[in-house]
């Protein structure tokens, strides 16, 4: 976020006493120019704050509605604040509607996917950056293309694949969290490889030679030297894998058909939607619970978002 502060061109340029071919309308007194710039700056800043308020408003409304008493919500109370915030909606959602279980399921799936996908991707990134072999470039292009595969279109074959897997290993089949872990592992790996590649490549080759001279095998070097050195990259790509998995709606909806106890957050949230009698307080409380982890992690990786990698992370 700490963008480079932009130098105000007006006053500084005026102070430099060159004689640029300025158009006649720009000829003004020093003081007039400065106050004009100030007015303009205040105006743009006000516009910026207005935009910020508008963009943040839905999130504010979400938190506010989660904290409003249920009676006020059902009466259609539209006041933009509440004088008696209550945690009733959170309590109702967590303890009556079993949201705690779904939260746990979501955390479990995301945690397993993060650990396994990062591990697989790290090893693959090592192979793709520190070794030269014929298929290397082809594999890299395939990793890039794999990120673009519309996974939504794969719902049907994956559904049948999981059904068959479940016939032999029930824990990895439909209606079990294992099926979600498997597919998200596959969806997370390509981006993770792409991200870690740069970090692994940045570790100087001299280090590898030094480790080799000290008698470390290739594998020891990778686990003991390389892995700790790329830790920042590992953290970043873990966060991206987490967000992708956490936000998934489609596969949770498709794979967990009848096992209520194995639902994840997005599906639990959807089950709150009832024709004409939505429990908006509950929906908003659930939404807050689901949004907070992502928001926190986004703050961690915000610098990385600029480099174009952010484009890959959006459900």
């Amino acid at each position: 976020m700490n963008g480079v502060a932009i130098e105000e061109p007006g006053p500084t340029r005026h102070a430099a006493d060159g004689t640029p071919p300025a158009p006649p309308r720009a000829v003004r007194t020093k003081r007039g120019r400065r106050s004009g710039g100030l007015v303009r700056r205040v105006r743009t800043d006000a516009a910026g704050l207005l935009v910020a308020a508008a963009v943040a408003f839905p999130l504010y409304w979400m938190v506010l509605s989660a904290l409003k008493p249920r009676a006020a919500l059902e009466a259609g109370d539209a006041t933009p604040y509440t004088l008696e915030p209550s945690l009733d909606s959170f309590r109702r959602v967590l303890f009556v509607d079993g949201f705690g279980q779904y939260l746990l399921n979501s955390v479990l799936v995301a945690a397993v996917v993060v650990v396994l996908s990062t591990l697989c991707a790290f090893l693959a990134a090592v192979a793709l950056t520190r070794y030269r072999f014929r298929a290397r470039t082809t594999l890299l292009v395939m990793v890039l293309v794999a990120q673009m595969v519309p996974v939504e279109a794969l719902t049907i074959p994956l559904f049948f694949l999981m059904r068959n897997v479940g016939a032999t290993v029930p824990a990895l089949g439909l209606n079990h969290l294992g099926s979600l872990m498997l597919v998200h592992l596959a969806f997370a790996i390509p981006l993770a490889i792409w991200m870690l590649r740069g970090f692994v490549a940045a570790v100087p080759r001299e280090l590898e030679e030094a480790a080799w001279l000290d008698g470390a095998s290739g594998f020891t070097f990778v686990t003991r030297v390389l892995f700790p050195l790329v830790a920042p990259g590992v953290v970043a790509c873990s966060i991206f894998s987490f967000i992708m998995t956490w936000n998934d709606f489609l596969f949770a909806r498709t794979f967990i058909i009848s096992a209520q106890e194995n639902q994840t957050l997005p599906i639990a949230l959807l089950s709150f939607f009832k024709p004409d009698e939505n429990d908006w307080g509950g929906i908003m409380a659930g939404s807050v619970l689901m949004t907070i982890p992502v928001l926190v992690f986004f703050l961690f990786v915000q610098r990385r978002l600029v480099s174009g990698l952010g484009g890959a992370v959006k459900g």
Binding site: G3, R41, T44, D45, A47, A52, V55, A56, P58, L59, W61, M62, S65, E74, G76, A78, C120, L123, A124, A127, L128, Y131, F133, L140, V145, A146, M148, V149, P150, E152, A153, L154, I156, P157, L161, A186, R205, E209, W212, G218, I243, W246, N247, F249, L250, P266, L270, F273, N278, M284, V288, T291, L295, F298, L299, L305, V306, G311, K314, G315
Partner: protein
């Protein structure tokens, strides 16, 4: 280890790590390739295969023989006016969302360059919040804001004298439903465009702009002939990335229009394929729709790869 032994093992000055076994990179690649092969490549093959079969509930449960029907699924799609209207919906909706996202994101990126640093940070934090919001919870909040009777928007509109909006259902009419979903989509995808373009603008050396100004170029002229050409790579990336997102849209449409709107008026390709497969048990037909979506995105992806290469991303 003595020095001569070391040089003896390094003919041609190659690093030691590279020479160790030809199999070593493949050992590191194995876990990732195994998962990707089983969960991405094989399903992709299955998707294409199933699209050539008559595959419905009877075949799934084994009560009827599998029948290869060649391109019949695609023929029935081509003959179905609903498919063409869904394809039109998808392209039109994606195009509208992309244009709005780019306009909003681009305008705010320019605004961001003129803001006082702390105002810019506030605006970026708000945008980060919108960006981080999961599609499911974002849809929930926007639905709540536009709820017919309890929603803030209708209450405010009715409050300022537009009585017609009291109890007005935004999801009932086809176009307002698309508008509502589109607003949510733009809200959560413009931050990527804004942040990327802002970074692009910051990367333009100030000397170039200064030089143009000293040569007497007007602000409009500088924007058109200096800034825009230099922003082209960034523009290309955000455009294509936005197209990919908005063509793939599933969650927002599914949740906000209740699975595709009244009588399927708000269906887009991904939701249509999903409904054909899992609601109507037409798995073969659903797969054919999946193939169409994949091909559409593959074309866009190829464009993306070309623009990445042009902007200097190295493999």
């Amino acid at each position: 280890m003595s020095a001569p032994a070391l040089t003896a093992r390094r003919p041609g000055g190659r690093a030691p790590g590279r020479r160790r076994g030809r199999l070593e990179p493949w050992v590191y690649l194995a876990p990732a390739l195994l998962v990707l092969g089983a969960m991405l490549v094989y399903p992709l093959y299955q998707l294409v295969l199933v699209s050539f079969f008559d595959y419905r509930q009877a075949q799934v449960s084994g009560n009827a023989p599998l029948r290869f029907i060649g391109l019949d699924n695609y023929r029935s799609l081509a003959a179905d006016p609903e498919f063409w209207s869904v394809l039109g919906n998808t392209i039109g909706f994606a195009a509208a969302c992309v244009v709005c996202t780019l306009l909003v994101g681009g305008a705010l990126a320019v605004l961001a360059t003129r803001l006082t640093p702390w105002v810019r940070t506030v605006m970026f934090l708000a945008a980060l919040g919108a960006w981080a919001t999961p599609a499911v919870t974002g849809s929930a909040v926007w639905l709540f804001l536009f709820d017919p009777s309890l929603g803030l928007v209708n209450q405010v509109l009715a409050g300022v004298g537009l009585e017609g909006f009291a109890g007005y259902s935004w999801t009932y009419d086809r176009w307002t439903a698309f508008g509502l979903v589109g607003a949510e989509v733009v809200w959560c995808s413009f931050p990527f465009v804004m942040v990327t373009l802002y970074a692009g603008i910051q990367a333009i050396p100030t000397e170039v702009v200064e030089a143009a100004r000293i040569d007497g170029a007007s602000t409009a002229r500088i924007a058109r002939s200096v800034l825009l050409p230099m922003l082209r790579p960034a523009m290309m990336i955000v455009t294509i990335q936005s197209i990919i997102w908005d063509v793939k849209i599933f969650t927002q449409i599914y949740i906000m229009t209740g699975g595709g709107g009244i009588a399927g008026q708000n269906l887009v390709l991904n939701v249509y394929g999903y409904q054909q497969a899992f609601a109507s048990d037409q798995y073969g037909l659903g797969s054919a729709i999946g193939v169409v979506t994949t091909l559409l995105l593959l074309g866009i992806t190829l464009l993306y790869l070309r623009s990445l290469r042009r902007s200097g991303e190295v493999l």
